[in-house]
Symmetry: C2
Subunit: 294 residues, 2 copies
């Protein structure tokens, strides 16, 4: 595995590996990318393993993107665990890790922003103004630097996934965005680099987020389509015996592409939640499938 910190090194390594992995029968090798902010956990590992199984050349980027953090957010304390991250990438089979410094990604004079309107004003975009502009800008930039054919994102950040899909479609970028299922702790809590901020008592109740989403999906499967009723069900799980430790920021059922809110749930819709436990903000989501719940 090669660890590179500049775009020039990345291009060289990417080219060298592409030549090495070039199959005679193929026009050119398939390049994969998993963009991350490091602090890698089993969720990232699943993305990297899937990329390595599907692609000829597998690239992981590790970059804590300052543009997607707002004022007062956790940029300064966001976990940086490069050694452990590299071990995980190596074990998962990545060929290249691209771990640039801030000034490599945004050199002096950098002036460009890629933004997606509309769907970014809602949900996480409402409490994190500018966040999605930071995400789309850095993803556009990483797509330019890595030139992948396939990019792997977790469904845990569902709005981010849909925003990136929108950008890629709108700008005809011509890469496949591969959405991968959320990886969870045994008690259902969605894997997140921010879970380590939770106190032991917060950690114990954090699985209620997913339990609430599962309750909504189960009720929907059972025939309940009225969103208000589904939210009442979820709240019974979130606030047992009136315990209000979980501060819900939003809880909604949305059309899964533009993320517009529904009043009556439909097959394929998504239930979304964001909540604070103390100072830690967690998000999760689930598909409403009518059939199984997962």
């Amino acid at each position: 595995m090669e660890v590179v910190v500049t775009r020039d090194e990345l291009h060289k390594q990417r080219h060298a590996l592409a030549v090495k992995h070039h199959h005679k029968e193929m026009e050119r090798p398939l390049i994969g990318l998993v963009p991350t902010m490091g602090a890698l956990h089993r969720g990232h590992r699943a993305l990297i393993e899937r990329m390595c199984a599907e692609c000829d050349v597998s690239v992981v980027s590790i970059f804590v993107n300052p543009k997607q953090f707002g004022q007062g957010e956790d940029l300064d304390v966001y976990p940086r665990t490069l050694d452990s991250d590299l071990s995980i990438c190596r074990a998962a089979g990545a060929h290249i890790v691209f771990a640039p410094a801030d000034e490599e990604v945004y050199p002096p004079g950098y002036s460009t922003t890629v933004s997606v309107d509309g769907m970014t004003a809602r949900w996480c975009g409402q409490s994190r103004p500018g966040h999605f502009n930071g995400v789309t800008t850095v993803v556009a930039k990483l797509l330019g630097a890595c030139r992948p054919d396939r990019v792997y994102f977790g469904e845990k950040d569902f709005q981010q996934l849909q925003v990136v899909k929108r950008m890629v479609r709108d700008l005809d970028i011509g890469i496949d965005i591969v959405a991968c299922p959320t990886v969870r702790e045994e008690d259902g809590l969605a894997m997140s680099s921010r879970n380590q901020y939770l106190s032991p008592s917060e950690r114990r109740i954090a699985p209620r987020l997913y339990a609430a989403l599962k309750r909504m999906a189960a009720c929907y499967s059972g025939g309940v389509q009225d969103v208000e009723s589904l939210i009442v069900e979820a709240k019974q799980v979130l606030y047992p015996s009136g315990d209000d430790t979980i501060k819900v920021e939003y809880l909604a059922i949305v059309e899964p592409e533009a993320l517009t809110p529904r009043e009556r749930a439909q097959h394929g819709d998504r239930a979304l939640i964001a909540a604070k436990l103390g100072t830690t903000r967690l998000i999760d989501n689930i598909a409403l499938t009518g059939g199984e719940v997962g």
Copy 2:
């Protein structure tokens, strides 16, 4: 020459031609693009001919981009001359003309903007708010749809050229932007699709713009570096005997990359002018080279 109106057809034609023009000794054929808004003149033709001389597959896009016109600007009356445009493309040797409708470029749900800050606030950006966001968005989109290796722009729209270069560099798009000299009428007027808006009397005095720029460049070559003095020289050409038909919007000497204004001119700087003749807005520019004037 193939004329295509959808991105799908464009991809198919581009691929078919790339296979046909594939040289054994090359890794892959070189794809060129000249993005235009139609109303093609000899300036465009020079771009297309240069592309055809340098590239294996030559694409011209013709799209009057509504996003780069402001309210009250000339979108509705902008000249549409597709038949003549196609003849020019054919004569110049283009392989593909991509002439999409508005809804092909911006289909329902389209939500993405690419913007360059800072340098777009000045000069044309000041009198045409939103113009450069429209330019960078459509160019990013056309680069996605056409996937060229080289894109040809005229130096006449000098700020546009620098803004596009900035975007391509910032997003690591990895294509060459080729800047081509402004093509002029015999009397020096820069070729522009908007020249046809000029009345006969306006047309007669329009060459003063370039004459004024040439005077500045000649004075700079002669040792004058003070920008205020250079502008006084230019105004003597623009307003002979107090004739104020030409309404100057800006006249400046700028550093040629970020386009920041200078007080003392330096080698390689650019003199920029924008002016209105009646309702027609014209722009032009010249390099300060210290040596020859051209």
